[in-house]
């Protein structure tokens, strides 16, 4: 497998540093996002989530959680802290306004447990609301990313959504993988 490196950070960062307060500073920030998450909305590294077309409120909450330490990731903590607080909302809206990219994932059978997801993630699994806050779009997301997140919730490595921690803990690893495969193929 080829190493996956997002190597375009330098330009975006230098531009950002030199002109942080200019009106188009946000474009520089977003260019940094695309350097890893994909210039056409989907990364070659399927452990990184598709962001384009994700629910704005969900993106906003994740950026804030990365900044505050409620969600932990070495790279994203650094990246999210480089976005100005007043820009988070607008950045999330700009990302959400883009079209969700289509992936190569093939359709898989629906596990019975999928019904429990629909209450919060929406009947078509394109995102919704939960009592604990915004629920992301799952339909068409990368299976590798979904599996990793479900595992992280189950094992307590991701702790920014209590209901997800409990639900994922109640499933076996192959049940989580089955859900991921089905969701990726939607």
């Amino acid at each position: 497998m080829r190493p996956f490196i997002c190597a375009a950070l330098a330009l975006a960062v230098v531009g950002f540093a030199a002109d942080a307060r200019a009106a188009d500073a946000l474009d520089g920030t977003l260019a940094t996002c695309w350097s890893c998450h994909g210039v056409e909305g989907a990364s070659n590294d399927h452990t990184l989530p598709i962001l384009w077309g994700q629910k704005a409120k969900y993106i906003e909450k994740q950026i804030r959680d990365f900044r505050e330490g409620d969600r932990e990731d070495q790279i994203m903590s650094s990246m999210a802290s480089s976005i100005k607080k007043d820009d988070i909302s607008r950045a999330a809206s700009l990302i959400a306004a883009k079209a969700w990219p289509k992936t190569q994932a093939v359709a898989a059978a629906a596990p019975d447990s999928i019904e429990a997801c629909k209450g919060c993630h929406g009947s078509d699994l394109t995102g919704g609301e939960s009592p604990e806050g915004p629920a992301p779009r799952l339909a068409g997301q990368f299976a590798e990313y979904l599996t990793a997140q479900m595992e992280a919730f189950a094992h307590g490595d991701r702790r920014n959504q209590k209901t997800m921690q409990a639900m994922m803990k109640s499933l076996k690893p192959d049940e989580r993988a089955g859900l991921a495969a089905y969701l990726a193929g939607l």
Partner: protein, 464 residues
């Protein structure tokens, strides 16, 4: 500058030792910088303040390492005469190691369990028994015995937002009472969650390391109207401010009851390993410097920490190099006031834990040297770090050099893969060195035997 010394000796590895010639290089200036491909046991480097590349001079990349299981044919590389073996396995999220006065090995497992595990070593350096001292302490990290000396009464643990202590007496493998909150106001967030803890040799003060709340203070509230007044106690020169950054990028001191908080030193972006040097009582920090300035900018470092010292973050790095990114404007008043750290390390190596060699097993001339665990890079085109290095000391002062000591965790099958991420080092009472790996949950033990060096030289001589 580059001198080359050839040592004929055997490379002793985890699985099997094979006779080989080890090339011992010395690299300074530009040649001191580099990625894992250039690492060799014995290679000595020295990076000096004048060598630091300007921002953007080298590319900046996000290049996350992917942890894979330890391959069946894994070979750890180290220097002649040394052997690396498993001390303990199955310790998920193993981070900080501390040795109790009776020789028991305390290991924090920060995530996911938030535990401290006690491993009792047998005479031949294996684990005789294992117990969970405490569990459920979110992101348990630093461990310190109090009071210092042969008969501690408490184990202090740095964790998310807090320092707690549990009752302890020599021989305890399980805490005999609940965790008691000592410090409850440590800030969280920004990804820098490690909280290392240590005490002054007289036990009067507790050091707590608290990393910054962000990469480069992109957001601080308006600066205090009177900076001179702000920098007086309990703050100090170069102290940051605001909800996100006050009391951060600091080494703090408290009295052991958790009162009398003071900034001991400021501008230390993320002191992930805090150690008091035996004999001198000097505090040392292994520090992760800032991201996104390029592959070779700026060096991470290990340094002695002076009371009231300012080490640069966020406005400067490695002395007077200015960073224009912090929120709220420049600080020309601080130019030239940032202390240049003692030992500059390859940028983005992510040095975490460090400890000093008390002597007793390793070569006699290595007594007093520091051994540093490098967790390894993400913000670099090609990975760097992922190894243990030796920092030579003379008369209790670092020479500024560092030497590749234990390595070989990178790229078992593809550049992106690693099978070990060293976190902390700690010497056992017999002078052997333990180091932790939180990638695959292993504590390794490094031993040394002069006979093995002699045997290897014999083999080399016969071959020649």
């Amino acid at each position: 500058m580059k001198t080359r010394i050839l040592l004929s000796a055997s490379a002793l590895a985890l699985v099997a030792g094979t006779a080989a010639s080890i090339a011992m290089d010395y690299r300074g200036g530009n040649s001191a910088f580099g990625d894992w491909h250039g690492d060799t046991p014995g290679l000595m480097r020295k990076i000096e303040a004048g060598d630091v590349a300007k921002p953007g001079a080298t590319p900046s990349a996000a290049n996350r390492s992917k942890v894979v299981p330890r391959p069946a044919d894994a070979q750890i590389k180290t220097m002649p005469g040394f052997t690396v073996s498993d001390f303990a396995t199955g310790l998920e999220g193993a981070r900080v190691i501390r040795i109790a006065p009776n020789g028991d090995v305390f290991v924090s497992q920060s995530m996911p369990s938030g535990s401290v595990t006690v491993l009792r070593p047998s005479k031949d350096g294996k684990v005789e028994s294992k117990e969970t001292f405490v569990t459920g302490l979110t992101r348990a990290y630093g461990i310190a015995f109090y009071p210092p000396g042969p008969n501690p009464k408490y184990v202090y643990i740095g964790m998310e937002g807090k320092v707690v202590r549990l009752p302890y007496k020599n021989g305890d493998m399980k805490a005999t009472g609940p965790a008691e909150d000592i410090v409850t106001d440590l800030k969280i967030g920004g990804g820098h969650w490690t909280r290392d803890v240590s005490f002054t040799p007289d036990g009067k003060l507790m050091y707590v390391a608290v990393g910054s709340g962000s990469n480069i203070a992109e957001e601080m509230s308006p600066r205090p109207a009177d900076l001179k007044a702000w920098e007086k106690a309990p703050h100090s020169l170069g102290s940051t401010w605001g909800a996100k950054e006050e009391w951060r990028a600091n080494v703090l001191t408290y009295t052991p009851d958790g009162k009398n908080k003071q900034v001991y030193a400021a501008g230390i972006r993320n002191c992930s390993g805090l150690t008091v040097q035996p004999g001198t009582g000097t505090v040392f920090c292994a520090t992760n410097e800032r991201d996104l300035l390029g592959d070779n900018t700026p060096p991470d470092y290990v340094t002695s920490v002076k009371k009231g010292g300012y080490y640069g973050w966020p406005w400067y790095y490695i002395g007077a190099n200015e960073d224009t990114r912090p929120d709220g404007g420049a600080r020309p008043d601080l130019k030239g006031k940032a202390i240049v750290p003692d030992v500059l390390l390859q940028p983005h190596s992510a040095p975490l834990g460090l400890s000093f060699n008390p002597g007793g097993m390793f070569p006699a001339e290595w007594k007093g040297d520091a051994f540093v665990a490098m967790h390894g890079s993400w913000n670099r085109s090609l990975h760097t770090g992922y190894k243990i290095v030796r920092l030579p000391f003379k008369n209790n002062k670092a020479t500024g050099e560092y030497q590749d000591f234990v390595l070989g965790f990178t790229a078992p099958s593809g550049e992106e893969n690693v099978w070990g991420r060293p976190v902390d080092t700690q010497f056992m009472h017999d002078g052997s060195l333990l180091f932790s790996d939180d990638a695959n949950g292993v504590i390794y033990r490094v031993t040394y035997s002069k006979d093995k060096v002699a045997a290897a030289e014999d083999t080399g001589a016969k071959k020649n």
